[in-house]
Symmetry: C2
Subunit: 308 residues, 2 copies
């Protein structure tokens, strides 16, 4: 195999009460990444999109992952990667994770899959480190494993793929900037034990609901008493959109990643689409451009769509 | 049905990282409770044990539950209950919960089961209120439902029975007094977000492990970074017993309820029994009398063993 093309999905990290531990893959939006195995140890990164991301390998999220793999695995080969990015940087939908996870997954595939999934996650995390300063796997894990993943720990690596319920995801990305660093800094360092206990009841309920395919339990558990009340202030119309989504029949939802995107889970496609319309109208009203996406939870994660 | 006899199991609340939300039923120890339906609205409580518990209904854990049921359900009947208590009061193994849950379950059975399990829990909670001042369901829920239960909320009542893994439980009850009020007061009101995130990763892992029957994951998740480091100071030899249990092959474990009992989970009966011996020896060494129990997780909870 000398050439492959990947479809790399967007991901929702910090799933409501599952702050820092639960994430899921969706179908839409997604990036496309074309890989070519080179005989020389060069790393070439090209972007066809207009986001102006750096193409110098050491400054590119995919590039640093490939450089790290080259070094650690003593590779004589190089890689050319053409990235067609559709997941907007800064959306909170795992744009940098897609590049990082795609790079590690694609290189591994071209080399004949010498690495386990956990090792692919390990290398992809260097891309997240470049993008955000933190070597986290919140988005990378669901991107690579698909479905909903629990990142119990990254050191040692302990990723648990959960069941992938047959639910629709509506995501809206309003065109406002929420810096990940601001979203981190705004959080309180200390919380009350009482609120923590409430939160872990919800997490336990959410994981049980996911594993049992109990949609009502998932809905009753999608409740974040610690992070959302603080971070949602940074996202215009968050409360209105959440309230209206629940009225329209959403099981629940919240901030995607550290925002500004908001996601909602629904049992029916019709509900998910009504929510999408409502979200767009809500931002139209205040002249904020927004992009909405409706798709199912993506049980597969990154997929090879062409190979030669 | 005019007479029944119940076997009412001990329970382990606050399952390690599942503080205030996760509990499980065991087979041993257990109480026996004999019920007789009376034509007159009298409540008669008798104890055959020597624990000196009050028999006046309004001051007895089972008695207040029956009084509350009588009042709420406008019963013309009364009940005679003979309690053979084997679960020692103050052990942290759900002794008061057994009396409370047994009373509500037994009365409901004699009346032809007009109440749902959630309603039985509701009435039993009045017994816990008398015993500890707090109307909690941490022990009552697993006692009534069996297996491992998640008490997501008691208001509104939201109890989720989880899977019941085929594991052995070793419990040791050292004869030292840990007052529930002291065990509550010693806890910090505030915790760091960082430790809370670690804790909810463990809870998510524990619930996933329970649902998937993944014993390794259960073991990796039985880790409490918030409550145990504080409360374990009240229990002599806690650290030594935990370390040695893990060395002997336990998956993990911790404080049962608010102590002083300690429990450990193991895959094999042989391991569970070795741990029991080690626990008893550890307390023998320092001249503290102790009682040890080895049984499986009890998937059924309270059982009717005789009826007439």
């Amino acid at each position: 195999m000398k050439k492959i093309k990947l479809k790399v999905p967007a991901t929702v990290a910090n799933m409501v009460c599952g702050f820092d531990i639960l994430g899921m893959a969706v179908h839409d939006p997604y990036d496309e990444m074309e890989f070519r195995l080179l005989e020389t140890p060069e790393i070439i990164i090209k972007h066809t999109d207009l986001f102006g991301l750096p193409e110098e390998p050491s400054g590119n999220v995919a590039g640093v992952v490939l450089l790290k793999m080259q070094e650690s695995l003593n590779l004589k080969n190089g890689f050319e990667v053409i990235i067609h990015k559709h997941i907007k940087p800064g959306s909170g939908l795992g744009s940098s994770a897609a590049s990082a996870a795609g790079a590690a997954f694609g290189a591994n595939a071209l080399l004949g899959n010498p690495l386990s999934k956990e090792e692919v996650v390990h290398f992809a995390m260097f891309g997240e480190e470049l993008a955000s300063g933190v070597r986290h796997a919140d988005n990378i894990a669901p991107c690579i494993y698909g479905g909903i993943t629990l990142v119990k720990s990254t050191s040692p690596m302990d990723i648990i793929p959960l069941n992938s319920p047959d639910l629709f995801v509506t995501a809206v990305h309003p065109q406002v900037e929420v810096k990940t660093s601001d979203a981190r800094q705004i959080l309180k360092k200390n919380i009350t034990l009482k609120s923590a206990v409430e939160q872990w009841g919800n997490i336990a309920g959410l994981v049980a609901g996911i594993e049992k395919n109990d949609f009502s339990l998932i809905g009753r558990s999608l409740n974040d008493v610690i992070i959302e009340p603080i971070r949602s202030i940074l996202i215009p119309k968050f409360d209105e959109i959440k309230t209206k989504s629940l009225q329209l029949g959403a099981l629940g939802g919240g901030i995607s990643g550290s925002g500004p995107s908001i996601f909602m889970l629904s049992e029916k496609k019709e509900t998910a689409e009504k929510i999408a319309q409502m979200m767009q109208s809500a931002y139209d009203e205040i002249d904020i451009e927004s992009f909405v996406y409706v798709s199912k939870i993506n049980p597969a994660g990154i997929q090879i769509v062409e190979e030669a």
